[in-house]
Every structure is written in structure tokens, then in C-alpha cells.
Amino acid sequence: MTELQDLARKLLEDGTVAVVIGWEEGRRGPRPVSITEPDDTERLVFNARCVHNLATYLDPRRSQVRKLGKPAIVVKGCDTKAVAGLLREAQFKREDVVLIGMHCGGVVTDPAEQTEVTAETVAPRCAGCDVREPHRTDYVLGEARVEPPQNTSIDERVAALDAMTADERFEYWATQMEKCVRCYACRQACPLCVCDVCVADKTVPQWIERAPHARGNMSWHLVRAMHLAGRCVGCGECERACPMDIPLTLLNRKMQQVVAESFEYHVSDDPEVVSPIGAFRDDDHEDFIL
């Protein structure tokens, strides 16, 4: 931990950055913090309970963070994929951000109750993680970590839904959509949802019904999943932020699978890798087209 704190102090003291965004111990587990004073850097921690994806604070729309000046943020491997996503869509320039990469041995699913990474507590997104050692960051701290136990429940839940008939799936999602209260916490938490005026807020024309009944909600979540297809890094923050426990990551996981199968595209942490949006191949499969 001290390695992180010393680096943060040095960066703040010699002015390379104006703020260091990381985690500090909070009442119910680590919580994001932005540190501007060198003395406060010893509050920084990093452990298996740091599940948040701090890349969301690089969204240019967060003017209160931008006002603080050039940021350094502490990122796990999966977070760098979100940073690459933002770079791919020109939201900020790479030289305007300092990335402090941390070796990561997997994180827990619920930071409030769970402290150690075990077979039961490991987060589903850590299964098959190929970025335990983050690439393309300015610094890499901590030591290499062994592969955590694999929790592939999310794939099983997607497979279980796939196995259902269309009507059963419709019934399942209809009941989930009834719960949604349209608080848009999922949009707020997502590092890649960066629009100034979201299409869900447009009323002329009101493509997505704003009333929180199941129909409006289904349309909202359909559009959200479409917008994240080929972009979502699977950090799971949307589901963790959802007050009504709607299994949103199932939708995004399914989209990841479809994009991987159809376009051989896996969300990558390299901003140079072109996203499938706007790219096409002559031989994209069209067996479903008459």
C-alpha cells in the first residue's frame, strides 16, 4: 500500500498531476476518493474489495472532477479496458491522464460484506481475466498475482436463459423490468455512458417512454444494451449500482458473447483496436436474411 501512497505523494508534490483518484477505507468497504493534498495520500488503499471502475471519473461530463485539473487514477486491468474505450471515442487525450496500474488477483462480489477472495465471493468478471497485470499504464505497482478461483456463474445464467423458450424469457425479463424505477444509476455508474443528453432524456420525439412501467423500462434497457454492444468491458458496476437488483450484466454479457461470435471481437485494453461499430466485413454472416 505504501508503494501507492509514496507514488501519489510524489506525483502531487512535483505537480505532474493535480489530483489522484483512488480508494480510501469507507464505512462499508473501500470507496473512491480524489486526493489533492500530498499529506492525504496515506488514506489511499488497494485491496480485493476495490471493485469500483474509477475510469468513470474520466468522463468529461463530470465537470467537478475536471475542475480539479490533470488526474492520475488507480486502475485495475479491467478498468484499463474502459479507459481504452473512452480513448477510442476521443473523450480525452492519453497524455492528459496518468494511469497507475495495480496488479490484481481478483475482487470480491460485494465489498460491503465480503473481504477475502474465495470461490464463493470472487466476482464473476474475474473469470478468465487476461489483464491481471495491466498493460499500457504509466506505472504498474504491486506484485504479480496468481489466477483467482473462477466464478463462471454469469455464463451459466446466460446459458440458462438461452435454454428457455422465447415466451419464458419474455416472462423473466418482464418481471425484472417491472422492478426498474428508472433511477438511471446504471447509466451514472457506467464508465462508457458519457452522453451529455442521453437519448432516454429526449422527449421530442420520446423514443423511449419515460414512464417507469415495464414497457418503457424494457425499451430503455434494450437501447442501453445496444449502445454498449462491442463497448462494455463487463465491470459489473451497473448491476452493483442497481437498487432493485436487476441482473443487468446478463444483457451485457450476452452482447459480449454475440459480438465475439459474430465479429471475432473481444473488448480490448488497446485503444488502437478498432471497435466493431462502424467496421464491417463483406462476409459478415447473413444466414437470417431472406
Binding site: 445464467r157 422465447a166 424469457r169 425484472q176 415495464a214 437488483d245 444483457l251 459474430s262 459478415d284 431472406l290
Partner: protein, 175 residues
């Protein structure tokens, strides 16, 4: 929607077609000039290119009670704008899987390439879609989503899924 004709015994599906102006719309015109009789359940909305056809249109059509949606445009390499249909194809590969994952059966969304000279093929697409959707029956489920009451609804569903995190036992304790 005009006042429904007196309810015939057979279910008459309402199908919306989003078609591109240069190929399928002209193909439908050609079916007209060749007097090719076809089912009258399809209502055509003309757009410059399949590239312009947004997933939102299809969602809105189902929201408003369409029983089936046709999306049709130029064959690959024939697009008047050279690449509109390629982008559309890629978009619909993903959207179609998403709809099916959400439980809206793929049988209700029909994609096709119909060129300006294929009036006969357009008639086939229309007739085949009408029969296919008539067999599936009306799709009021999406429209009636709005009237599902949340009171206790979500919490009593016994839909068992492995490892679905149990919502707290009593209702409303979601903090």
C-alpha cells in the same frame, strides 16, 4: 389505426415494414406495376437506406402494437450509398440476438434483401411474413407490459435461476 374491420374469424396481423428507398421500395413499386397481388397487412415506411433504420424504430413499432416487423433493403454491393446495408447488417446481427434474448421471438422480425427488380421476391417476403406472423398470433405482450402492476409482482415470481441473488425476504427491504 383505422377502426378495425369487423373482427373476421382469422387474426389479421399488423406488420410494419421499414424499407430502403432505392431498392426495396422500388421493388415494391415494380410488384405494383406487374400487378402482383399480395396480402394487405403490411404498412411500408420509406427511408433513404437500411443504414438509416435504427433499432429504436423496431422497438417503437412493437411498443405500439405491431405483430411483426419487416426490415428490407438493397443486396450487399448494390447499396446506392455503397455501404449503408453493410452497417445495417452488422447492427441487425447484434440487435436480433438481443431481441431474442429479451424474449421477442425472431420469427416476428424478418430481414431481407430485395432489389429494385425483385417485385416477385417482395411479394414472397410479404406473403410469407403475414402467414408466419398469423401462425404466431397477435403480439400484444409487449404493448401490455405497461399494464403489469409491480405490486408484489416481481417478488413472488418463482422463476428459478441458478445463483440468482435472492432479493431480501420481505418486500421493500432493498436498501
Amino acid at each position: 389505426m383505422s377502426e378495425m374491420t369487423e373482427p373476421t374469424t382469422e387474426f389479421e396481423p399488423r406488420i410494419t415494414a421499414f424499407v430502403c428507398n432505392w431498392c426495396t421500395y422500388t421493388g415494391a413499386d415494380m410488384a405494383g406495376t406487374s400487378r402482383m397481388q399480395m396480402a394487405s397487412n403490411v404498412r411500408i415506411i420509406r427511408l433513404p437506406c437500411t443504414g438509416r433504420i435504427d433499432a429504436l424504430f423496431i422497438i417503437k413499432a412493437f411498443e405500439r402494437g405491431a405483430d411483426g416487423v419487416i426490415v428490407s433493403g438493397c443486396h450487399p454491393a448494390d447499396c446506392h450509398y455503397t455501404a449503408g446495408n453493410y452497417h445495417a447488417r452488422r447492427r441487425f446481427i447484434v440487435f436480433r440476438e438481443l431481441l431474442s434474448f429479451m424474449g421477442i421471438s425472431n420469427e416476428r422480425v424478418i430481414f431481407s434483401w430485395v432489389s429494385a427488380g425483385e417485385g416477385a421476391k417482395w411479394r414472397e417476403v410479404v406473403n410469407e411474413t403475414v402467414e408466419r406472423v398469423r401462425a404466431l398470433g397477435p403480439f400484444t405482450a409487449y404493448h401490455e407490459l405497461a399494464s403489469r402492476q409491480m405490486v408484489g409482482g416481481a417478488y413472488e415470481t418463482e422463476v428459478e435461476l441458478p445463483d440468482v441473488r435472492e432479493a431480501p425476504a420481505e418486500a421493500g427491504g432493498a436498501s
